[in-house]
């Protein structure tokens, strides 16, 4: 994983220092800067040095801003996390309700309507939806702001109404894909479980529908949780497009800037940190699944 992060940014064209120095910079200045950033050593040595430092939490210094990569990434990560969690919660709630209903009314008109909505959600390019939302709610109705986190341009999230107002549109745009995917998963799980014999047994025992649904929900949980966890990870890493549209100061915007300024340490650090969180999240799901469903044991 770390090898990929490292290799990724080194296969690309363009000398990272060329963005810093003027075209006619004397050779000795170039050499000194290269030595300073460790770019004069062979790639393997660069990799080992980078990994060794990364393990201790030192991801180097951003070439463009000269601030530490960790110092750049962490605040952005918090901002991204706020959006991702917001989008995930909205998406999961909508998905569970629609999916539950679709699964319960399996094969009936209601099922077809909700399934259609789910497919629509999965097929919508979310960055386009973001633009459409801006057009409707910011340009035409002028209800909600379209850019940034707040009016002052600060990049720290505070619990003010202003911040929440800025969050509304990005969160809706982000929630559509997870909503669609969760709807599909929940629908499949519920429809399948309702067909099983134990449901028949519960019914013959005289249980009412609400109690039966609780049993079904419990059995569907592990599968649905796995999908949700993955989606949260995707939201965290994949919000780059939404953050670009809304100029939300998160990791996505950071990555975008790092790519276009060829800021290698920043690029490597951000991707590695995001990947680490993604892996940790997956691990967490496995643990959570095992707690909910005792049959899953390693």
């Amino acid at each position: 994983m770390s090898v990929i992060c490292f290799a990724l940014v080194h296969i690309g064209p363009g000398d990272p220092l060329s963005t810093l120095l003027p075209e006619d910079a004397p050779q000795e200045v170039v050499d000194r800067l290269k030595a300073e950033y460790g770019l004069d050593k062979p790639l393997v040595v660069q990799y080992v040095l980078w990994l060794g430092k990364a393990l201790t939490g030192d991801f180097g210094i951003s070439i463009v801003t000269s601030r530490s990569v960790l110092g750049e990434v962490l605040p952005a990560l918090v901002n991204s996390l706020i959006l991702a969690v917001g989008g995930a919660m909205l998406g999961f709630i909508v998905g569970m309700i629609l999916g539950g209903l679709a699964g319960y009314f399996h094969g009936r008109p209601a099922d077809r309507v909700f399934t259609g909505m789910a497919i629509t959600g999965v097929s919508v390019p979310h960055y386009w939806l973001a633009i459409v939302l801006v057009i409707i709610f910011s340009v035409e109705l002028q209800w909600l702001p379209s850019l940034g986190m707040n009016m002052s341009g600060a990049t720290d999230f505070t619990f003010t109404i202003e911040n929440f107002r800025h969050m509304v549109l990005p969160v809706i745009a982000l929630s559509v894909i997870p909503a669609g995917i969760v709807t599909r998963t929940v629908r499949g799980a519920v429809a399948e479980l309702l067909n099983q014999e134990f449901v028949e047994a519960l019914r013959s025992k005289g249980m009412n529908e609400r109690q039966i649904l609780r049993h079904v929900a419990k059995n569907a949980a592990p599968q649905v949780m796995a999908v949700m966890g993955l989606q949260l990870g995707y939201l965290l890493g994949g919000s780059i497009l939404i953050e670009t549209v809304f100029a939300w100061p998160g990791t996505g915007l950071l990555l975008n800037n790092a790519i276009f300024s060829r800021d290698i340490p920043l690029l490597q650090g951000t991707i590695l940190i995001l990947a680490l969180i993604f892996v940790a999240l997956n691990l967490l799901i496995d643990v959570a699944q095992a707690t909910v469903d005792p049959r899953i044991k390693r």
Binding site: L129, L236, G237, I259, F260
Partner: protein, 301 residues
């Protein structure tokens, strides 16, 4: 794949090596089911129209997609002569959308085909041979799962630099692992069925078993899975070019048009939203078509 189809195809393959009549009934049943599915047919027709429009763009487009006109900037949809209006440089939107479809569809479909060939082959080999080969191939693929796919696509594209070819490479790389995984799972299932053991008992060579008995049974599910990726592919591909990692101006695809028109949402909101509508329709139709194929072929993944 449900147990039922698995059995019927397995029996068909095991009973008669030529498998003529049985297999034909399976496929004719599939076509019969498809014919009675208006949604799938409708989606296929829409996609066909969009594709044909893109292929024959020079014949269909009413204007030159690169001809700018400063007097005619951001004309509204429905302006005489410009059915869908003009963009921020006065270029005809309809013509640009038709031409843009060329790049958009290319970057959406080619990576899936590439990943299908690479990932499918690796997965089938891993599944069929098992053991150490399986472990090496599948563990390598696992590494890719450490990254959310959009992030990986953007990172690879960003590293390689902007360009259509680089976008195709990065998308191929992110679609390869999931296809490989599906191919490996299906192949492992088929490999352990009795009819493969029966085929092994005959003088059939490994190559022949792989070609005749395994491939015929795994190709369906793998193709279905790959077809479901096309809609994801068009969204990510257009996303890459939306970020400026795809085609370079003045050439344009739907993603880049969406990006450049974003500055004009206050003046011409409808024009600005149009390219996204096409991405959405294409993705939506591919999704429904894939679902229709899946149920027609009775494949469960």
């Amino acid at each position: 794949m449900t147990a039922q189809t698995m059995d019927s195809t397995a029996i068909a393959a095991a009973e008669a090596p030529s498998a003529g009549p049985k297999r034909r009934t399976y496929w004719s049943a599939v076509f019969e089911r498809l014919r009675r599915d208006p949604v799938t047919i409708g989606c296929a027709v829409i996609i066909l129209i969009i594709m044909l429009a893109a292929i024959f763009a020079p014949l269909i487009a009413p204007h030159d997609p690169y001809k700018t006109s400063m007097l005619n900037r951001l004309a509204a949809v429905g302006t005489p002569g410009h059915l869908l209006g003009t963009d921020e440089l006065g270029r005809d939107m309809l013509s640009r959308l038709i031409y843009g479809g060329r790049v958009s569809l290319f970057t959406a479909i080619v990576p899936v085909i590439g990943a299908l060939i690479l990932g499918g082959t690796l997965g089938i080999v891993a599944g069929f041979l098992g053991g150490r080969v399986n472990m090496i191939i599948m563990r390598t693929m696992d590494v890719f799962y450490a990254f959310p796919s959009i992030l990986l696509a953007i990172a690879i594209s960003g590293a390689l630099g902007a360009g259509v070819l680089n976008a195709v490479i990065s998308l191929t790389l992110i679609f390869m692992p999931p296809i490989c995984r599906v191919a490996e799972t299906v192949t492992t299932q088929v490999r352990n069925l009795d009819f493969i053991a029966a085929a092994r008992a005959t003088p059939a060579s490994t190559g022949r078993i792989l070609r005749v008995h395994v491939l015929g049974n795994v190709l369906g599910p793998i193709l279905i899975y790959a077809s479901s990726l096309v809609s994801v592919s068009i969204i990510i591909a257009s996303g890459l070019s939306f970020l400026g990692l795809g085609v370079s101006p003045p050439e344009a695809d739907w993603g880049l048009m969406l990006n450049t028109l974003r500055q004009s949402i206050y003046v011409a909101p409808v024009n600005a939203a149009l390219p996204g509508v096409l991405i959405f329709i294409t993705g939506f139709c591919f999704n429904l078509m894939s679902d229709g194929l899946r149920s027609a072929m009775d494949v469960k993944l």
